[in-house]
Every structure is written in C-alpha cells, then in structure tokens.
C-alpha cells in the first residue's frame, strides 16, 4: 500500500496540471463554435487565426521582442555574472541584492515603477519601453544560470590565460565564453519564454504602436470564449515545448 499510494498521488497531481491543457488542445481542433460541445474535427480556428492580420502582426512583434529581450539580457546577464564571479569590487553584495530583489518582487511592483520611470524620463511607451522592461525582469534569471555554471569551474584556466599575457577581454572571449556557452543558451531560452509569456509588466509599459501577443490574447480572453484562443494556445504550447526540450538537451549535452 505504501508503495503505490505515493505514485497514485503523483499521477493525480499531474492529471490536474495537464487536463486543462489537454482540453485546450483537443478543442482547438473542434469544428463547433462552442467551447463545450464537440462538433467534429477541423482546422478552421487555425485558419482564422492566420487570417487575422492584427493577430499575425502581434505575433511577429512578440517574437521580435522576445528575441531581442532574450539576447540583450543574456549579454548583460552574462557580463554581470562574470563580474560577480571574477572581480572584487565594493558593493558586490548590493548588486547581488538588487538582482535578488528584481527576481523576488511581484511583477506588478516592477511594472508600475517602470511606468513611472518611463513617464518621467519621457520614454515613449512602445518597443523600447517593452524591451527595457523585459530585459530587466529576465536579467536575474540569466545571471543565476550563468553563475551556477561558473561556480563549478576550474579557476586555473583563466589564470593560465592571464599568465600567458591575454588581456581580460581576450581571456573572457577565448576561455570563459566557451565554458559558459550552455548556460548562456539556457538563460537565453528562459528569457525568451519569460518575455513571450509576460502579461503583467507589458500591460503597463506598452503602447498601441507595438501590440504584442499576450495583450492581444488578454483582450480576446476577456471578451469571452474564443476558439481561436485554443488554436493559438496549442501553437504556443508546441513552440515552448520545442524550446524547453532544446534547452534541456543543451544542458544535458554540456554536462557530458
């Protein structure tokens, strides 16, 4: 009894997590307009999704934003991690603390503080404000991923490079970057997903000049049940599944 009870429990929790997603996927192929009754197999919601210009544009905007936010945050995050790892400087704890605060603070707090800043400084709400905001909340995650990689790293290699006369920059480029590459990729993928998923921060710092997918979905979902949302959700699920497998594969391969 003690052997199967925990397993049954695990299965139950996984069911709870996956049933809603499963229903979503199944109903995305439902021919009926209603979200509750089955009307036969059909791809019509996928079709109507791609005929919706505003939706397609929001998709591209979101992809571009996620790409750029993930890239910028990976670059800055990697540099931050390297700085924290290699350099001794004053207020290192403060820097660490600030990153921790960003990671822990409720998104809504981050959102309104950035909105206040953008209004004060006069940054127009659009692509730029979204990029700055998304990079900021992705940053700590990249730093942590890279730091984890660096902590298990043999210190003699960079020392050797320095002894051979390599500058700090050269050493970083030729020795450290290859080492942290898997962490960079994993961090990038995490940032990409976080950006693609964000609703709370984007609600505050976006303008009509740059509509993104989560906000489109939000306004659709608030209006009521829309079969297109099922189709879109399924596509996003497949997409993030691919991304996740990619990142796991990179991490596992790098460990060998």
């Amino acid at each position: 009894m003690t052997r199967w009870l925990p397993r049954v429990y695990l299965v139950l929790v996984y069911l709870m997590l996956y049933v809603p997603i499963g229903v979503l996927v199944v109903f995305s192929f439902n021919d009926s307009r209603s979200g509750y009754t089955w009307g036969g197999l059909s791809l019509r919601w996928y079709q109507s999704l791609f005929h919706n210009n505003a939706m397609v544009e929001a998709m591209w905007n979101s992809l571009w934003l996620a790409l750029s936010a993930a890239t910028v945050s990976t670059i800055i995050g990697a540099l931050t991690a390297l700085a924290l790892h290699r350099y001794r400087f004053r207020a290192k704890k403060v820097l660490n603390g600030m990153l921790f605060v960003v990671m822990m603070s409720p998104e809504i707090v981050l959102a309104i503080s950035l909105l206040a800043l953008f209004l004060l400084v006069g940054i127009q709400l659009g692509y730029l404000s979204l990029l700055l905001a998304h990079v900021t909340f992705c940053l700590p995650f990249v730093v942590i991923t890279v730091m984890a990689r660096l902590s298990g790293f043999d210190e003699s290699l960079p020392e050797a490079a320095r002894d051979l006369g390599a500058s700090d920059f050269t050493m970083t480029r030729t020795v450290l970057i290859p080492v942290i590459m898997p962490a960079l990729l994993a961090g990038w993928l995490l940032g990409f997903t976080l950006s693609l998923d964000d609703v709370v921060v984007s609600t505050f710092v976006s303008g009509p000049s740059y509509e993104i997918l989560p906000l489109r979905i939000y306004s659709m979902v608030r209006v009521g049940l829309k079969p297109e949302v099922n189709a879109l959700g399924t596509l996003l699920l497949v997409f993030s599944l691919v991304m996740l497998m990619l990142s796991q594969w990179i991490l596992i391969r790098s460990k060998r």
Binding site: L115, Q124, G126, S209, E211, R222, V223
Partner: protein, 346 residues
C-alpha cells in the same frame, strides 16, 4: 463622389510626402465596436493601416490617453457623451477640421450641436445606444421582468450581471430611487450606493468587455446589457430578450474625437469621413446592432434591422429615457469612491 475622391487625394498628397513609413491610424475604441470589414475596406481604399486597440470603460480610455499624452499614441478615440465634454474642457482634444469631413450633413440634427460639444467643434457622433435589461426568458420563472427594480428580486440571487461601468450602474441605482441618473447630489449618490449594496449578493459578475457573454455562457440570467450586444446575441440565443425598464432606459452617444497630440490627424479625418458614408454607417449598424445617427444610412438598412426595437427604440420605449451628461469632476470623485466600495464590498 468626385469631391470625395479629390479630398481623399488631397489628404493623401498633403500627408504622403511628410513621412515615408506606411501610414498608420491608431484607433482606440470599445471592444467589439467596429466590424472588421469596415477596417479592411478602409485599409484597401486608402492604404492606411488601422491599428485597433480596445478599452472597456471611459475611465480606462481617459487614463490611458492621459498616460500616453506625450507619446501621441492614439489618433482617434470614441468616448461616450459625458467624457466628450470633460476631455474638451480639459483641452485634451484637437479641433476637428470640418472642411476635411465629408458627410457631416448626414447626421441626425437631433444628435449634433449638443451641450456636450456646441457646434461639434471637437467630436463627430459615431453611434448611439441604450443600456437596458437583458432577460433570459428560458431560465426565468414567475413574473416577467419589466423594471430595474426587479433585479433586486430574491429569485435572481447569484444570477445578475451588471456592466463594469460606474456611471451606468449608479444610473440604475438612482433611477430605482426615483432620482436622475445624472445626479450630482452626494446624498442621492450615497443613497444609490446603499441601494446597490443590497443588490450585490445577487451580482455574479461585472462585464463591459462583452456584456452578452455571461448570458450566453449561462452564468447569468438577468441584468444589464447594451442594446447592440443584445442584438448580437439574438442569433445564438433567441431566449435572451432586451427589455426597456419602466424606470427608463439609459441612453448614450459615442463620438469620434482626435486627441490633441495625434500623430496622424489627417488619417483620423479620413476615417471619420469614411464612417460617415451612408453605406458604411449602415453596415456598422447592421453588424453590431447599435443605432446609427446617420439618416441616409438608416434608410438603407434592411427592414428587420430598422424595425428591430432593440436597435431602434420607438418613442414609447424612450419614455423616461435619460441621456448621460457630464457631471463634473467633483461629482465624479464621489461616484468613484462609492464605485470602488461597491465593487470591493463583500
């Protein structure tokens, strides 16, 4: 028609040289308040891409416009009656150049040159409509629902829906007490609040994104709805009736305005003229069920639309009807306070 083409050409010529990127019109509108077909046809005809973003309350629209004031984010918005005068008085709007507007004369003389905007210097009427009672006759037993007062009936506990609109909900409370829906008297507003708190246990949800949906989903049976939403629901749910309450219906007029910092006022003028064309106005009224103030358009409507009492009320339906008017910022603050108390109360 020739004149129109000329005006269009002129407008394109005037603005075409100023920027090279594809022209964009940022339209800020209520959700589901413009058929996609209208936008598509406008885009095809002018090459101007319409970016359609939505809000679900005048307050949200106003806050966002103020927030994005400097970045000149929107070229066209559609506030209700009382917000037109508020925004006009606060200097948030750009005067509309009547020489660039085609078809202003199509508008019902009764709905232009109102107090909210004398001589329509800043606003052009888009649609007008009413907020009345929705009753799902299939799910309701006993006495028919004919008045706002009936919402307080115990049998509807947990089955009532209200719009997520401060002024409208208080309008109902005030009318049930026999006051004007535009009351600025703090005591009356508080009294209405007290009355509405008694309704709260019955209220299942507030919805202004698409007030028909909770009825369609079977979550609510009775409550408030906009007439256009009721018309849109007719097809899928014939049992949902639109009722003109005894205390009088809430009436409103939504108008196009151009924010003062709009980036593309030319396109905004073009779009207003486009909508003022009788065939376009008729299309809009037919698709989304609200009444067009465009008289030639009304003549083009198919009979079943023109005679639909939900869209186009009879004189009798409009007995006791009250148009929403501007009540000033002070009274608005009083409403806002009680509104929050109402919504967050348990």
């Amino acid at each position: 028609m020739k004149k129109l083409a000329l005006a269009g050409l002129l407008a394109v010529g005037l603005t075409g040289c100023s920027s090279e990127e594809p022209k964009v019109l940022n339209l800020y509108n209520w959700s589901e308040y413009m058929p996609q077909e209208v936008l598509t046809r406008f885009e095809e005809e002018t090459g101007i891409q319409v970016v359609y973003t939505t809000y679900d309350s005048n307050e949200a629209m106003y806050a966002k416009l103020k927030l994005l004031d400097d970045s000149a984010a929107y070229d066209l918005a559609v506030p209700s009656t009382y917000y037109v005068s508020k925004m006009r008085q606060e200097g948030l709007l750009m005067p509309i150049d009547r020489s660039k507007i085609e078809g202003f004369d199509n508008l019902d003389p009764e709905l232009v040159n109102l107090d909210i905007d004398p001589d329509n210097k800043f606003s052009i009427p888009y649609l007008w409509g009413t907020t009345g009672l929705a009753v799902d006759t299939a799910d309701i037993e006993g006495e028919p629902v004919t008045a706002w007062e009936d919402l307080w009936d115990e049998r509807f506990e947990g089955r009532v829906m209200l719009t997520n609109d401060m002024r409208e909900v208080f309008h109902v409370g005030l009318r049930v007490l026999g006051y004007s829906g535009n009351s600025t008297n703090p005591e009356q507003i508080e009294e209405a609040y007290q009355k509405l708190t008694e309704l709260m246990p019955s209220v299942r949800t507030f919805n202004s994104d698409a007030p028909r949906v909770p009825y369609l989903e079977g979550e609510t049976d009775v409550g408030m709805i906009w007439n256009g939403e009721a018309v849109m629901a007719e097809e899928t749910m014939p049992s949902l009736e639109y009722v003109y309450p005894d205390e009088g219906i809430i009436a409103w007029l939504d108008s196009f305005v151009i924010p003062k910092n709009a980036k593309n006022p030319e396109a905004a003028h073009q779009f207003i003229s486009f909508v003022l064309r009788p065939e376009i106005s008729a299309l809009i009224s037919e698709e989304i069920g609200y009444a067009t103030p465009n008289l030639p358009a009304r003549e083009m409507l198919p009979d079943e639309v023109a005679n639909n009492r939900a869209s186009y009320p009879t004189a009798e339906d409009m007995t006791n009807a009250e148009f929403q008017v501007d009540i000033g910022d002070e009274a608005l603050q009083v409403y806002a306070k009680y509104w929050e108390m109402l919504k967050s109360g348990r």
